[in-house]
Symmetry: C2
Subunit: 294 residues, 2 copies
C-alpha cells in the first residue's frame, strides 16, 4: 500500500469532516462528509474513527488535516511558525504510522501577533501548486473563522483570523437577534446595505443592536434582517482584512456559497477579486504533500 497508488485526504474539523479518495493521478475518485468532527470523538475513540474513514473510502494511506492535529485531537501536530513553506509543513508532518500523516497547523506570533490556523494551510499550498493562487497575494478564506492570509513567494507570511462565521452563528442561535436571523442570507440590497455599514462603521456591537431596533421602529423589514446582518459582519471583516498593506487583487477561497458573499463585499470595497473553490485546492494540496511521502 504505497501513497503514490492513491490515498485518502481528510479535512477533519471541530464539528465536521470531509474525506476525499485521491487516485494515483491526483484526481478525486470518491468522497464523503459527515458530522464526526473532532469534538464528537470520545476519549480513546480516534482509532475507531480513523478505521471508519477507511470503511467509507477504502484501505488506503490517510492524510489528516485540521483540528484532528490539535491538542484535543488524535495526535498533536504542533504549530509551525510563519513564514511557513510547503516543504516545512511536510517536514513537520506527524506520523502515527507509515500509513497515516497528520498535517501541523501554522502559527503567526511575530511581535504582537497571535493567530493560528489548522486545515486552511493545505488549501493555500494546494492553490499555489495548482496555479489557482498567486504566490504573492492576499487571500481571504471564509468559514467559521475567516482567515486573511498574505502569501509571499509561495510562503504563508502572515495571517489574521476574524470570527465572523461563528459570531453570526451564536447571534442566530442564542441572542436577542435570533428570531430575526432565521431567514435565508442572500445577495441583494439588504446584504449590500449591511456591507456598506460594516465597511464604514467601527461600532459593530452597537450596529448589531440597531438591527432589531430598526425592525421594531419600522425602518427595516424583518425579512431583510438576516442578509443585512450577514452583510454587516462580512463588511466589518473585509474592512479589517483590507487594512493589510499588500497587492490590490484579492482571492477568496472556500465553499462557493460563502466565497460569493465575501467577493461581493470586497467588490463593494472597490478591490478586484476572484473566487477559487476550496475543495479543489484541498485535494491539490493533499496531493502535493502525498507526493513526498512513502
Amino acid at each position: 500500500m504505497r501513497w503514490s497508488d492513491g490515498f485518502i485526504a481528510v479535512d477533519w474539523g471541530s464539528t465536521n469532516r470531509r474525506g476525499y479518495l485521491v487516485d494515483g493521478s491526483g484526481k478525486c475518485a470518491g468522497e464523503f462528509e459527515d458530522g464526526e468532527g473532532m469534538l464528537s470523538v470520545p476519549p480513546g475513540g480516534f482509532p475507531a474513527a480513523v478505521a471508519q474513514i477507511r470503511e467509507k473510502l477504502g484501505d488506503k494511506p490517510l492524510l489528516l488535516a485540521g483540528m484532528v492535529g490539535s491538542n484535543r485531537g488524535w495526535v498533536e501536530a504542533p504549530y509551525i511558525p510563519c513564514p511557513a513553506s510547503l516543504d516545512q509543513l511536510i517536514e513537520k508532518l506527524v506520523r502515527p504510522s507509515d500509513r497515516e500523516a497528520i498535517v501541523p497547523g501554522i502559527a503567526d506570533s511575530s511581535g504582537e501577533r497571535a493567530d493560528v490556523m489548522r486545515g486552511e494551510e493545505v488549501q493555500l499550498f494546494g492553490g499555489i501548486a495548482a496555479g489557482l493562487l498567486d504566490p504573492d497575494s492576499l487571500v481571504c478564506h471564509p468559514g467559521t473563522h475567516n482567515k486573511w492570509v498574505t502569501l509571499r513567494r509561495g510562503r504563508i507570511e502572515h495571517f489574521r483570523t476574524v470570527m465572523t462565521g461563528e459570531l453570526f452563528s451564536v447571534l442566530k442561535d442564542h441572542s436577542i437577534l435570533a428570531d430575526l436571523l432565521r431567514g435565508k442570507v442572500a445577495l441583494g440590497d439588504a446584504f449590500s446595505a449591511g456591507v456598506r455599514l460594516g465597511l464604514s462603521s467601527q461600532d459593530l456591537p452597537a450596529e448589531l443592536f440597531s438591527v432589531r431596533a430598526r425592525v421594531l421602529l419600522g425602518k427595516a423589514r424583518e425579512e431583510d434582517a438576516a442578509s443585512f446582518t450577514s452583510g454587516l459582519l462580512i463588511g466589518t471583516d473585509v474592512r479589517i482584512g483590507l487594512s493589510y498593506p499588500t497587492s490590490a487583487q484579492v482571492t477568496v477561497i472556500g465553499r462557493p456559497e460563502l466565497t460569493q458573499l465575501y467577493a461581493a463585499a470586497i467588490r463593494d470595497a472597490n478591490r478586484p477579486v476572484c473566487e477559487v473553490d476550496g475543495e479543489r485546492c484541498f485535494i491539490a494540496g493533499a496531493a502535493a504533500i502525498a507526493e513526498k511521502l512513502s
Copy 2:
C-alpha cells in the same frame, strides 16, 4: 388603596424581575428578585404573574417597567420618541386598571438612528429627580445591553445601545472561547490590557479570536482570558460611547459590580467618571411617577 399610601415598583425584564415596595415617603420597605421574566410567562399568564407580585409584597398599586410593556409583554405600552421628558412618560402610561400602570419605552429614531430602551428610563428620570444625575450630561447604563444616554435639560435627548453584556454572555456559553471565559472577571492588569485594546482597536471580531490564539501560543495566561475579554468588550463599548459630542463628565448608573468595570474603562479613556446605584435611581423614578397617579 391609594398610590400615595405606598405602591410596588417592578423592573420586569426579559429574564428577571425585581420588585420594590415603596412606602408613602418614597422609601423602600421590602423587595424581591426572581427569574419570572417576561419570556417565562405563558400565554394568558400575566394576571397570575401580577397577582404573584402582590402575594410577595402586599396588595398595593403596581408600577411596571421594562419588557413587560413590550409587544410580547402583558399590555403593550408603545415607545415614546426622543427627546423624552418625565412628564411625557407619565402622560403615556398604560393603565390596565386604576391599580396598575405600565411605563412606555423610549425610541430614538431621528435621522439614521434606530434605538429603543425599556426600563432604563425610570432609572434615568429617577436619578435626575433624586439629584444623582446632572440633567445635562452623558450617562452610561451597563447591563445586557449597555445604553449611552445624552441628557439635556432633564430630557432623554439621544441614546445608543451597545450589546456588550449579551456578546460576552453568548461567547462564554456558546463559542470557541467558552472554556476560556468561565473564569471570574475582575479589575486588574488583564482587564486593563483588554480595555486599552478595545479603546484603540477597531477590529473586535479579530481581537476576539486572538484571545484564544494568545493562550495557545503561550503569550497570555488562560486564567486572565475572562477579564481580558471583558475589558476588550467594555473598552470597545466605551470607545463607541465617548464618540458622543458632549460634556466631559460621565456618570455610570447600574449594578455596582458592572458600574465599577465601566468606570475603570472610562477612567482609562481619560474621562472623569462617577458611579450611581441603579436600584436607588429606579425607586426614586418610580416614586416620581407614582406621585402623579391616583
